[in-house]
Amino acid sequence: MRRPVSTVVGTLAAMPAPNINTDQIIPSAWLRTATADLGNGLFGSQRYDEAGSERPDFILNQPGWRNARILLAGENFGCGSSREAAVWALVQFGVGCVLAPSFADIFYENAFRNGLVAGVIDADAFEDLRRAAAAGPASYAVDLASGTITGPDGTRWAVSVPASRARALMRGDDEIAITLAMQPEIDAHFDRSRAATPWLFPESLMERPSR
């Protein structure tokens, strides 16, 4: 069971460039151990200079945006490497929702499995929110049940999350537990496949290595 998520409330920060890749979201320097402080490494190459000091011009280093909870991004957010640490870094930093016109496939899957809301917005909402975010830090609220984001003055925009994914987030589904309940069906599939295409499972593979 994962922690259910139904709303994300907090500061909206905009990084509106398209094609922000997962190497940018979490640079490889933070991938060398299983226990690195990923929240600290979020956007590390942009956030810190060579000496490790914060770059003051980077959005998440600026007063008011240091604790952003909602990130507005450009098209194809999360492209590149499959590293799930990109999602973990966002979550550990405190980001609960990324809004973008589109997401890269693997990032999108990774996000929902970690309770990070990946909401698709249309071009108008993107432009409005980008302008609003540029005006200064302010608190917004993303609500999964209604599929909306509401601004400080009450303006709303649609946030698209497939209904089944929104429900899974709100319930805090454990996807593996759900699949494990189908184990008999999976085993039956395997048996059928082994009978129909035995070459897929040759002896050299099916013999488990000895210790």
Binding site: R32, A34, S81, S82, E84, P202
Partner: protein, 495 residues
């Protein structure tokens, strides 16, 4: 883009996939993708996704540690360890004769991989095993991938095995955990698209040039949500290793899946490999594999043609793989892009790369030449590079390295004497691993350096903080190492 190259891509709107041009037979025409996917469909889930059986699961050290940890915490086991294979590739040292301790920064993840494999009795081909190598190099090489199988791996370039007609699915760590626990994946069904490489590949050009051209034409999001079938006369003419290179960079098109229909070359490639079927089983397999192609009239939601006849060697100039041009082209002017986002991104890329619009790619000085990676770390890649290098010397002040994709590739290359050609020229000849493709071991390009590489990503900081990357084919990289600058291998050949 200021270019003399013909416009190579045109897009044809798709047919209606639901109709299927059954023709006279009444049998629906299916794409290769649909044939394989449907054969692995356990069930359609309530949320519309498909639960897909995974025939093979390949693990590497950087994306599996947390999956095993979570599995343990949930009290779950590995459902089918016999269908699972682990290696160590990303963070290993590539120093000749290395072991798990050679790169101190890698010890923790390497030890975890070995311990987790041991605990669950999973085959582990680590740095102490002659079969060690980059996941996407060893999966085909061992015959682990075969036509019509579904192979998952916690790495975005898993589509590489599509070169054998397999569906290779790159997954994140939670999905690795899901496969370990259930031997399945819950996936949204991608849309079949086709990229046809037409005409003939000019001499000296290889699969890398083809796929870079396609990425330039379609963009890094062009294949999002799609399963890409590569077809056409140029693909049919490619050797199997070239098809692996082609499929490898599908993720650079934004696609999780990319594949080529298997043919006699595929079957010849697989015969006799460790996990390939043997004897009569191989013949039975071959008979079935022959049906693994898209039926005439099968429907693709998008069908793109790339003309190859006049293709130039491709080299990237920016910080995404779609920032690519012919080596005889000039760096484009960001102002020439219609889209504001693209304009800004290109301008930023040029600032990072320290390049100016209008400058020819040819002649750009380089500091490092890297030959290796899951894209171009196979024997034929090293052969193509060695053919350029033979009897010549790396330019002064250039660091040039060859990192075979697997230890088997290294042994085969040494049997052919390639290591001597490289070493005599001044190249480093290293042990197998990801190395300077991702630079999480000690193989790092220094800040400000300009590296020409056979790998697949030219992102900012990819090869080390502040490093700059130009992607190209093995021959182009080898030629640049010798000249100390980017050169047009076609002129070299004529000279």
């Amino acid at each position: 883009m200021a270019s003399t190259a013909p416009l190579c891509a045109h897009v044809r709107p798709g047919f209606n996939p639901s109709l299927g041009p059954a023709g006279m037979t009444g049998v629906p025409a299916l794409t290769l993708f649909e044939k394989i996917w449907d054969a692995h469909l356990v069930r359609r889930l309530d949320d519309g996704r498909d639960l897909i059986f995974v025939d093979r699961h390949v693990l590497q050290e950087t994306t599996s540690a947390v999956a095993f940890e979570n599995l343990k915490r949930a009290g779950r086991g590995v459902r089918r360890p016999e269908l699972t294979l682990a290696t160590q590739d990303h963070i290993v040292s590539t120093a000749p004769g290395r072991d798990e301790a050679t790169n101190p920064g890698g010890r923790e993840l390497l030890a975890l991989m070995r311990a987790n494999a041991y605990r669950h009795r999973i085959r582990h081909f680590g740095v102490d095993d002659p079969r060690q190598g980059i996941v996407h190099v060893i999966a085909p090489e061992l015959g682990l991938a075969q036509p019509g199988c579904v192979l998952a791996c916690g790495d975005s370039h898993t589509s590489t095995v599509g070169g054998l007609g397999a569906l290779g699915i790159g997954v994140g760590t939670s999905e690795v955990e899901h496969v370990l626990a259930t031997q399945t994946l819950a996936l949204s069904r991608p849309k079949p698209i086709r990229v046809r490489f037409q005409g003939r590949i000019p001499p000296g050009l290889v699969a890398k040039d083809l796929i870079l051209r396609a990425i330039g034409a379609l963009g890094v999001a062009g294949g999002r949500g799609s399963a890409v079938e590569y077809a056409g006369s140029a693909v049919e003419a490619l050797p199997v290793e070239g098809r692996l290179t082609l499929c490898n960079m599908s993720i650079e098109l934004g696609a999780r899946l990319g594949f080529v229909a298997p043919d006699e070359k595929t079957f010849d490639y697989l015969r006799g490999r460790e996990f390939a079927p043997r004897g009569p089983a191989f013949d039975a397999a071959m008979a079935a594999w022959r049906s693994l192609h898209s039926d005439p009239g099968a429907a693709f939601v998008r069908d793109v043609a790339i003309e190859c006849d006049r293709l130039a060697p491709q080299v990237t100039w920016g910080t995404t793989p779609e920032d690519v041009a012919g080596v005889d082209d000039r760096i484009p002017d960001p102002a020439s892009y219609g889209d504001a986002g693209r304009r800004e991104a290109a301008a930023k890329a040029l600032r990072y790369m320290e390049l100016a619009p209008g400058v020819p790619l040819e002649g750009l000085p380089i500091d490092i030449a890297f030959i290796g990676s899951c894209t171009n770390g196979r024997l034929s890649d090293l052969q193509a590079a060695a053919a350029v290098v033979r009897g010549r010397k790396v330019a002064p002040r250039v660091r040039a390295l060859v990192v075979p994709g697997s230890m088997a590739v290294k042994r085969e290359a040494e049997a052919l004497g390639l290591h001597e050609i490289f070493r005599d020229a001044g190249f480093e000849w290293r042990d197998a691993g990801c190395s300077m493709c991702v630079s999480i071991n000690e193989d790092v390009a220094p800040p400000g350096s300009r590296c020409i590489a056979t790998s697949n990503r030219n992102f900012e900081n990819r090869q080390g903080p502040g490093s700059r990357t130009h992607l190209a084919s093995p021959a182009t990289v080898a030629a640049a190492a010798l000249a100390g600058r980017i050169v047009d291998i076609r002129k070299e050949a004529r000279a």
